[in-house]
Amino acid sequence: MRNYVLKKIGLGIILLFCVSFFVFSMIYLMPGDPVTIMAGQLAKPENLEALRHEYGLDRPLLVQYVDWITGIMHGDFGISYKYRIPVWDMVSTRIPISLKLTVITMIIQYAIAVPAGLYCAFKKDKAFDRITVNTSLVLTAVPSFWLSVLLILGFAVGLGWFPASGFETWKHYVLPITAGVLSGLASTIRLTKSEAIDVLNEKYVTTAYAKGLPERRVLTRHVLRNSLIVITVNLFMSLPWLISGYMIIERIFGIPGMGNLMLSSIIQQDFNVVQAIILIITVLTVICNILSDIVLGFLDPRIRISVTGGDK
């Protein structure tokens, strides 16, 4: 177990390093000079040089990287090229909004998808399963941006029940969250179902049946418990993906979350901010991946052994 955890954490640190370097070097791969963007096209060359020096952009790349990463460790993401205020101040107010939306979405999605998926697995090929499978097939073909626009059309413009944009009252949250839940529902049901079917095919389930245990007991004690663990871990570790998926929904409903900020920063070429958001989301993803690997390895010795090759 210790070897497994160490291996995963070690790999994670290397990944984090690579990802952060990739994100950092993005700014040098981008078209246009950040200084020119800051000062405008008409600035004098000597002023540009001064600005470049002020932001430390005239130093070697590696020195800048080390500086940048040390700054971030202290919560300093640099200064926005466009607005000349600390990037962290811009981003930090957006994080709670995005998190709130994604966590609520995730809970609702879980509450609907897990029972549905489990039921589909138990009653495979019965009417409910067929309907769910076919509905989710159609649902996976519906892009979330169109779904959001349709929701606005139906419930905001058509029926006038909910506002189309903003985030002041609970009513503002209904449509975005519905869009978020619906767009992730199909894949979550599918994941739950395939996971539960895997467990149903396990030998210990056959054993439980062979022992003469009643069906209900086999399902609750053996199947439900074992499949739920994996599903829960998988779902909650997909949070960063959900945040990035919410970008589109935030954009359409005008919610000032991280995704919306990133999109407008891309358009305004405020690369510092883009960089910070990409870094935050990828670091979150890497951490969630490591955590889920470790938790799953804890729960299921088979995964652990396949990674460390059998030594404890």
């Binding site: 159609v138 349709l150 059309l153 998926g245």
Partner: protein, 282 residues
């Protein structure tokens, strides 16, 4: 019962409902794209200031948009863009993914370790974020959006091809080939590649809907196709401002997109059953 294998394959295709429905749906999109000039009554950017935001009628089947362009014609021309995305996207991902997968699976060792690590790295970054990052670097536009999506997606091809290559590279016929003095390249592309074609076909068909969807999403976000392109994602994003006055502007392009993606989706499901490739859809 003594049918030829090919005939047998076609009979089983015929019996597979998913495959047939998907095939017909995709075929219809292809036909529309080929005969777009004949089908569309107007040009895709033929603006008519006298007929702005007209509701669907006999003259304008799907209505007109805010510039007076016929939506039906625009959607018909949009099939070309969608298929272009599918073709170029799948092609790019295939070339990158299959080559790297073959190299990684055949040679193993440090090369394999490095490539696997790179694949893991791309799995760490949510797809949309990475695609946006790439588009920010290489610039907007449809081709660049397709490139961005391919850079995001190559890893799943590589993984699949690598696993398959590893499983057959120790078989006797490979050894025979090596003992005949075949070069590594010839072994990879003439011995291994034909044997993994079914896996590749299934992987392509499973990835295609996602590729179309992500590229359209990029167009919707304004970093893919540029106006006046009749890209369905772009059309939906242009419709938002006129949603109360012309709801048809957002409904029809979306329906076309759902139709196409759904067609590709069940075609993929059908192919997977037909070619009997065991894959767990994640």
């Amino acid at each position: 019962m003594n049918q030829s294998p090919i005939k047998e394959f076609f009979t089983s295709c015929y019996k597979n409902v998913n495959f047939m429905i998907g095939f017909i749906m995709v075929l219809s999109v292809i036909v529309v794209a080929i005969f777009a000039n004949q089908i569309a009554p107007y040009g895709y950017d033929a603006a008519d200031p006298t007929s702005i935001l007209l509701a669907p009628s006999g003259e304008h089947l799907f209505g007109t948009d805010n510039m007076g362009r016929d939506l039906f014609s625009r959607i018909v021309y949009g099939t070309r863009i969608t298929l272009q995305v599918a073709l170029i996207g799948a092609g790019l991902q295939l070339v990158i993914g299959v080559t790297l997968g073959l190299l990684s699976g055949y040679f193993g060792g440090p090369l394999d370790k490095g490539l696997t690590f790179l694949a893991d790295l791309t799995y760490c970054i949510p797809g949309l974020i990475m695609a946006l990052a790439v588009v920010t670097i290489i610039g907007s536009g449809l081709t660049n959006a397709i490139i961005a999506i391919s850079i995001v997606n190559w890893a799943s091809y590589t993984r699949m091809v690598r696993a398959k290559t590893m499983s057959i590279r120790n078989q006797a016929f490979i050894e025979t080939g090596i003992s005949f003095g075949e070069s590594s390249r010839s072994i990879m592309f003439r011995y291994i590649l034909p044997n993994i074609v079914p896996v590749i076909i299934v992987t392509v068909s499973m990835q295609l809907p996602g590729t179309i969807m992500s590229t359209t999403t990029l167009s919707f976000l304004g970093v893919g196709s540029m106006p006046p392109s009749p890209d369905w994602g772009l059309m939906v994003s242009e419709s938002i401002d006129y949603i109360a006055r012309g709801p048809w502007m957002c409904i029809f392009p979306g329906l076309a997109l759902v139709y196409t993606v759904f067609g590709f989706n069940i075609l993929g499901e059908g192919l997977r059953d037909l070619l009997d490739v065991r894959m767990k859809s994640q």
